[in-house]
Symmetry: C2
Subunit: 205 residues, 2 copies
């Protein structure tokens, strides 16, 4: 079953959830698929299709109960428990991500830092010690960390990825502008900020 | 014509381009659709469909000429000229983006900074003066800037967006975790790092 659900659907579930949480804060109790879909720039039919993979959550002609749908999606995405995350590459971008409060707010805590620069290894930043990249296996297994965020230089990205996977990492958030070879069973999301800009210029005069 | 091309296709064009540039550096001259598609985790049929919106670029049974396809995609995405970009919200994330060299490498130069914090306005950072957010209209028109990157707090995001649009901004890269209401003719891409993590946990045990 899992295999047939497109990753884009999973991503949109996270986006619906984001909007639903915002609506819940604003005391909205029920929302139509039209309005909820609109909030993430999707079509209502796309949204119904996305949710249909997991069951029947709305009431025809009424819409979705906001709180109930939040609980359903949190359960589908396994977001009920906090997750520890490793950050690999403590340069400018890595440090910025450490300072970024957004992850913690959504249940992710950066709990291990790695770098290969001997000038950085052993230093503390935001209360966390920077570990030697050579120690991923030991540290990640001890801390039971399954998610890694990669902010190393592009040229090191594949080597670091291979190392993380042999150290037990199952999901990778890749900030490097590089195609990464990964085996079956490992999931990767890439955030490429330049791509986002490049795909905007198409629409400019 | 423009309207019927899905935004996902435009984004994938930027991704093909990224891979093609890497291949060109590695002196690869020809690549099959199979291999090129694989590099961005797409299917070859998806890739052929994406390119077919713009013409016939490959040679059946041979593949694509790397240099030629780079030139074609750069032309489609209007990437031949450098673009000036404004950055709104000079907090932790904004400062990290300023330090990030990736944009410049791809032809985007952050050329104007804005904030609403009187303690920041007038200060210089990376050689650029932080302007008062109230002055967007004047500065953006003078500098002919059409692209804005928003790194303000979520609660301010819509107000800032509205202001940018009345100041002539046509494309927005949004780093806030907030749905933004935009009129027809304005393009928006959202980078939401927490969403990327949330959509990975689905695959974890």
């Amino acid at each position: 079953m899992k295999q047939v659900i497109p990753h884009d659907t999973i991503k949109r579930l996270a986006l619906y959830l984001r909007s639903l949480r915002y609506l819940a804060k604003k005391k909205v109790e029920v929302i139509s698929s039209q309005r909820l879909a609109e909030r993430i720039y999707a079509s209502p039919s796309q949204m119904r299709k996305d949710l249909a993979y997991f069951g029947e959550f709305g009431i025809r002609g009424v819409g979705y109960n906001v709180k109930k749908l939040i609980a359903e999606i949190e359960s589908i995405l396994k977001l009920k428990k906090k997750r520890k995350v490793a950050l690999i590459g403590i340069g400018k971008l890595g440090t910025a991500l450490l300072a970024y409060s957004g992850f913690e707010k959504f249940g992710f805590r950066i709990s291990a830092l790695f770098d290969n620069n001997s000038g950085k290894i052993g230093k503390k930043i935001f209360g966390l010690k920077i570990e030697d990249i050579a120690r991923t296996k030991e540290v990640l297994k001890r801390e039971r960390i399954k998610i890694g965020i990669i902010t190393v230089p592009a040229a090191d990205a594949q080597e670091v990825t291979d190392r993380l996977i042999t150290s037990g990492i199952k999901a990778i958030l890749n900030f490097t502008p590089r195609y990464l070879n990964i085996p079956e069973g490992i999931m990767i999301n890439t955030v490429d900020m330049a791509i986002e800009l490049e795909s905007l210029t198409y629409y400019l005069p």
